[in-house]
C-alpha cells in the first residue's frame, strides 16, 4: 500500500507526552536480559587469544596442546573461518578483523579462540596455544602513517580517489573532496584570514555492557544467535556470509543492549562464537572483558585537521577550506569522507572546499561513534570560527548567525537544504540566559554548532490488533534509548487509542522482515514512519470490518479519534465502533486484524544543534571543571520529550569526556596502555553539572509528524564548545583534544615562554 510520508500539521494527543517506558520495570528490577544474561543447555565458555603486537606476521601457530587439554571442546583459528568473501573487500576486512589471517594488525587483534567447559579451562587453554610472530614495524599516529617512509600495513592498498592511480602502496586508503565555488578567489577577497591545525585523539564509545553473545549451531545446519547488537538483521547477514550459512537458517535475537553509540554495529565476536559452536557441536557463550572491548572493539578515529577561513571585515565568510586526516584502524572506512562532508555543513558558503584522507594505522578497526567523524571536524571548524570572531572583533554568536545555512542554501557537501534548524538554534542561544550570565575568575564561556545528516533506510513493522482491542507492535530496530516508548506513542496517536494499550517489542530476525540497524539516528525516525504506515493499514482493515458490520460501503466509513464512524447522515444514528468493538468481533468479520509495513524511510531531516559551555580552569593543575552547560537542538518533533532530552544530555556528556579526558594512549611498542575505565576516564557523576536542554521543533517535511532523528547531533558541538570555553578561560587557543591537565599546562607554559 502506498504511504504518504509528507508532514501534516495536526494537533497530537499522545506524541509529545511523557509516559513511563514499557521496559522500565524490567530494567529497575534486574530482570532485563542483556547480552551476557542468557544461557543455553550444555553451553560452553569461549575466550579469545589476542596479539600482543601492533604489527606482526603470524609465522606459525600450534593449537595441539590446547586441544588436548581436558575440558576443551574446540579451538578455532583463521583456518576455521575460510575466506568466503568472494572479492568483497569490505567483508574481507570484517573477516580478517574477527580473526587475523596472515598478520596481526594491532595490539588486541584476535588470532585464535577456545571453547571449553568453563572459563578457567578456556583461559588455561589460551596459554597453551603457541604463536610464533615476526614483529614488523608499526605506526599508530595518523600523520606519521602518511609520511613517505612509514611502515606500510597493506601492500595491496593504493590510494583511491586520485588521478592517476598511484603505483606504490600507501597507508592513505582514499582521498575524498567536497565543496563548490572558488576558494582561492574567496580568500583573495577576504579582509581577515584564520588558519590553524588541530588534533583529536582516539576515543571509545564506552558503552558499559561489553560485547556478548551466545551462539548455537545445530547438526541440521540451523543456528541461533543471541547477541547485544544495534542491528540483528545486519549481524545475521554478516554472520551468514562469513560462515557460509543460509540466512533463513540463522535466527538472531537482539538482547537488551547496554549501550552501543555506533560501537555495536559491526560483528567481532559473533562469527567466532558461531565457528566455535559449529566445531564443538554445542552452544557457546562469548563475553568480552573490558580490556578486550578497549583493545579490540571499535574506537573512533584520531584526527589531524587543517582549517582556513577568510572573511570580510563585516563578518561575511568569503572562503572556507579544510584538510582532514582520519585514522581508520588497519582497514579503510569512510570516516574521513564523513568528516569532509560535515565540516562546514552549518554555514552558507559561496566558496568551500574540504579534502578528507582516510589513513590506515596499527590500531583497532574504527567503528561508528555517534555522528561518526562530525565532532572532530566541528571541533576544528568551530574553533576557527571562534578565532575569526575574535580577530574581527565581533560576537561569536552573531558571526555564526550571519553566516548560517538556511532553507535553500547549497550545503558544503552538495544537497540544497529544506527547512533547517541551525539559525533558530543560534538565535535561541543568543537569547538564552546562559549566554549573558556573569563569569568568575578563571572561568570562560564557549559555544559551538553541530550538524548531522540522520539516516532513514529499510524498515519493517507489524502491528497486531489483539482480540481485546490492545495492540502488539513488533519493530525491527533495536531500542537503544527508549524507542519502544516512542513507537508505542506513535501507534497510539495514529490509532487514536491509549498509550497503555500498546505494547512494543523488538522482534527477532525470524519473525519480521529485514531492518537496517539502529544507527544514523534512524531508530525512532524510520520505525515511527513504518509504525504509522502499519497503523494506517490496520485502520483500513478496521474500516472494512465496520462497513461489513453495518453493511454499508467502506467508502462511507471514516476513522476518527480511535473509532470507525459512518459518514454523513444517511445511515441514521450508527454508534461509532471503537478498536475494542471491532477487535471483539474480528472472529466473525474476517479473522485477525493486523497492519504491516515495509518501506525505505527516505527523507530523514538533517539536524543541527548549538551548545553553550562554561568552564573553570585551575591554572595550577590545568584541571577543568564544567560549571554550566546548555544544549539547544532541533528535534523536528519530540515524540517522548524526556528521552529526547536524555539524548541531548548523554551526547553532551560524551562530548565533554572526549574534550577533556578520554584518549587512547599507546606506548612506543604500539601497545594500548589504558585499556580500562580507571585509566581511560569517562565522565563520572561528580564531573558534571546538570545539563540544560532546549528542544526546538522545526518539522521535518518528510515525516507525517515532522520527526527528525535526535540521537547523534548532541555529540557534535561539545568538543568545540568546551575547547572554546577553555581557550577563553586561559587566553590560549587550545587546538589539541583532549584538553587533559598536562596539555593545558603545556599550552600555558608555552604561552609564557
Amino acid at each position: 500500500m502506498s504511504f504518504d510520508a509528507a508532514y501534516q500539521s495536526q494537533k497530537l494527543k499522545s506524541v509529545g507526552t511523557r509516559p513511563l517506558r514499557p521496559d522500565g520495570v524490567d530494567k529497575v528490577t534486574g530482570r532485563a536480559r542483556y547480552g551476557a544474561d542468557f544461557n543455553m543447555p550444555g553451553q560452553l565458555v569461549a575466550r579469545v587469544l589476542r596479539s600482543p603486537h601492533a604489527h606482526a606476521r603470524i609465522v606459525r601457530m600450534d593449537t595441539g596442546a590446547a586441544e588436548a587439554l581436558k575440558g576443551v571442546k574446540a579451538v578455532v583459528t583463521a583456518a576455521d573461518l575460510p575466506d568466503l568473501t568472494n572479492g568483497d573487500a569490505e567483508l574481507f576486512a570484517v573477516l580478517d578483523n574477527c580473526m587475523a589471517r596472515t598478520k596481526a594488525l594491532y595490539d588486541g587483534h584476535a588470532v585464535a579462540a577456545v571453547a571449553a567447559i568453563d572459563e578457567r579451562t578456556a583461559k588455561q587453554a589460551l596459554k597453551l596455544i603457541e604463536v610464533e610472530y615476526e614483529i614488523l614495524p608499526h605506526v599508530v599516529d595518523v600523520d606519521a602513517a602518511m609520511v613517505a617512509d612509514a611502515p606500510i600495513l597493506n601492500d595491496e592498498l593504493f590510494t583511491g580517489g586520485v588521478d592517476p592511480k598511484p603505483d606504490t602502496p600507501s597507508n592513505v586508503a582514499n582521498r575524498a573532496e567536497f565543496g563548490h565555488g572558488d576558494v582561492d578567489a574567496g580568500f583573495a577577497e577576504a579582509d581577515f584570514i584564520v588558519e590553524r591545525s588541530y588534533k583529536t585523539e582516539q576515543t571509545h564509545q564506552g558503552y558499559i555492557e561489553p560485547h556478548a553473545c551466545v551462539a548455537s549451531c545445530n547438526p541440521d545446519g540451523t543456528a541461533e544467535l543471541w547477541v547485544c547488537t544495534q542491528g540483528h538483521f545486519v549481524f545475521r547477514q554478516n554472520c551468514a556470509d562469513l560462515l557460509g550459512l543460509e540466512v533463513s537458517k540463522l535466527r538472531v535475537t537482539s538482547s537488551e543492549i547496554g549501550g552501543g553509540f555506533g560501537g555495536k554495529t559491526h560483528v567481532w565476536a559473533e562469527p567466532v562464537a558461531l565457528a566455535l559452536s559449529r566445531k564443538a557441536g554445542r552452544p557457546v557463550k562469548l563475553v568480552m572483558s573490558r580490556d578486550e572491548v578497549f583493545r579490540a572493539s571499535g574506537p573512533t578515529s584520531a584526527t589531524s585537521i587543517d582549517v582556513k577561513i577568510g572573511a570580510k571585515a563585516d563578518g561575511k565568510i568569503t572562503a572556507a577550506m579544510a584538510t582532514l586526516r582520519y585514522s581508520s584502524g588497519p582497514y579503510p572506512g569512510m570516516w574521513a569522507e564523513l568528516g569532509a562532508m560535515t565540516s562546514f555543513a552549518c554555514y552558507d558558503l559561496e566558496n568551500v572546499k574540504t579534502v578528507g584522507f582516510e589513513v590506515i594505522v596499527n590500531r583497532p578497526k574504527v567503528a561508528a561513534y555517534r555522528a561518526p567523524s562530525a565532532p572532530m571536524a566541528a571541533f576544528a571548524v568551530e574553533s576557527a570560527i571562534d578565532e575569526l570572531a575574535q580577530k574581527l572583533g565581533v560576537n561569536a554568536v552573531e558571526l555564526r548567525i550571519k553566516n548560517a545555512a538556511r532553507e535553500g542554501t547549497k550545503s558544503s557537501y552538495g544537497p540544497v537544504y529544506g527547512p533547517i534548524g541551525i539559525g533558530p538554534t543560534l538565535e535561541a542561544a543568543q537569547s538564552h540566559p546562559h549566554m549573558s550570565a556573569p563569569l568568575g575568575k578563571n572561568q570562560g564561556r564557549g559555544m559551538a554548532c553541530g550538524f548531522w545528516f540522520n539516516f532513514g533506510g529499510q524498515t519493517c513493522s507489524d502491528l497486531n490488533v489483539n482480540a481485546d482491542g490492545t495492540v502488539a507492535l513488533a519493530v525491527g530496530t533495536v531500542d537503544v534509548g527508549g524507542s519502544r516508548a516512542s513507537l508505542s506513542l506513535i501507534a497510539a496517536e495514529e490509532l487514536g487509542i491509549d498509550y497503555k494499550d500498546v505494547k512494543a517489542v523488538v522482534a527477532d530476525t525470524a519473525t519480521l522482515g529485514y531492518n537496517d540497524m539502529t544507527d544514523g539516528s534512524r531508530g525512532t525516525f524510520s520505525s515511527s514512519m513504518a509504525t504509522i504506515s502499519a497503523a494506517r493499514n490496520a485502520i483500513a482493515i478496521m474500516r472494512a470490518r465496520a462497513a461489513l458490520t453495518w453493511d454499508i460501503p467502506v467508502e462511507d466509513v471514516y476513522w476518527e479519534d480511535g473509532h470507525a464512524k459512518a459518514a454523513g447522515t444517511k445511515y441514521g444514528n450508527l454508534s461509532p465502533l471503537s478498536v475494542r468493538d471491532i477487535a471483539a468481533e474480528s472472529g466473525n468479520t474476517g479473522g485477525p486484524i493486523a497492519g504491516h509495513s515495509e518501506l525505505v524511510a527516505d527523507g530523514a531531516g538533517v539536524s543541527f544543534a548549538t551548545h553553550i559551555c562554561d568552564v573553570e580552569v585551575d591554572p595550577e593543575t590545568g584541571a577543568t571543571s564544567i560549571i554550566r552547560y546548555t544544549v539547544i537542538q532541533d528535534a523536528g518533533k519530540a515524540v517522548h520529550p524526556s528521552y529526547v532530552e536524555g539524548q541531548y544530555q548523554g551526547g553532551a556528556a560524551q562530548g565533554i569526556g572526549w574534550a577533556l579526558n578520554e584518549e587512547y594512549i599507546y606506548g612506543a611498542d604500539g601497545r594500548l596502555q589504558n585499556s580500562g575505565f580507571l585509566d581511560y576516564r569517562i565522565p563520572v557523576c561528580s564531573d558534571l553539572p546538570m545539563i540544560d536542554t532546549q528542544i526546538l521543533e522545526i518539522p521535518n517535511p518528510n515525516h507525517p509528524y515532522g520527526v527528525r532523528g535526535v540521537g547523534e547531533t548532541s555529540i557534535v558541538p561539545p568538543l568545540a564548545a568546551t575547547a572554546n570555553a577553555v581557550s577563553n578561560a586561559v587566553g590560549v587557543r587550545m587546538s589539541h583534544i583532549p584538553m587533559s591537565p598536562p596539555r593545558i599546562l603545556a599550552a600555558l607554559n608555552a604561552e609564557r615562554d
Binding site: 511523557r18 513511563l20 517506558r21 521496559d23 522500565g24 520495570v25 524490567d26 530494567k27 529497575v28 528490577t29 534486574g30 530482570r31 532485563a32 536480559r33 542483556y34 551476557a36 544474561d37 578457567r120 564509545q205 564506552g206 558503552y207 558499559i208 555492557e209 561489553p210 537488551e256 543492549i257 547496554g258 549501550g259 552501543g260 553509540f261 563475553v287 572483558s289 573490558r290 537503544v480 534509548g481 527508549g482 524526556s642 528521552y643 532530552e645 536524555g646 544530555q649 548523554g650 553532551a652 556528556a653 560524551q654 580500562g676 575505565f677 580507571l678 569517562i682 565522565p683 563520572v684 557523576c685 561528580s686 564531573d687 558534571l688 546538570m690 545539563i691
Partner: protein, 160 residues
Amino acid sequence: MSSIAVSTTINGDDVEYLCQADETLLDVLRNRLGLMGSKEGCGTGDCGACSTIMDGRVVCSCLVLGAEAQGRSIETIEGMANGSELHPLQTKFIEHAALQCGICTPGFLMAAKALLDVNPEPTEEEIRFWLAGNLCRCTGYDKIVRAVQAAAAEMRGEAA
C-alpha cells in the same frame, strides 16, 4: 582446586553455595545463584555496574570474593522491591527517565539506596560524589541525580 562452602544471607534469605577460592562474588551471584541483575561492566571495580550492599556498605561485587560472603548479609537488585511494590528509587528512576539502556541501573539503584539508608537528605553534591563510582554512558547523570533527589523527598514524606 577444591571448592569452598559458604553460608551467607542474600536479600534476607539463607543461602549456601560452593565456590572456587578465586571466584568473585559477582560470578557466584550470576553464574551459581542465577542473580543476573548485577552486571559486569569492567571486572576491575571501576564501573559500579555490579554494586551490591554487603553489611550495609556498597561494594563492587567483582572485587569481593565469593568466599568472603561467609556470614555476611548481601543485598542485590533482586531484593530491592518488596514483592510487586517497587522501592521509591525504582519508581523515580522510571518516572524521571533516569535510564536509557539500563545496564548501569541496578548498580546505581543499589548505590543510591545505600546513600539514602545513611543520609536521607543528601545535597546534589553529596549525591554526585556518592555515585561517582557508578558509570553511566547514556544519560549524562542529570536525570539520575534528579531521580535520587525525588526518591529521597518521597521517602522523607515530602511531596515529590
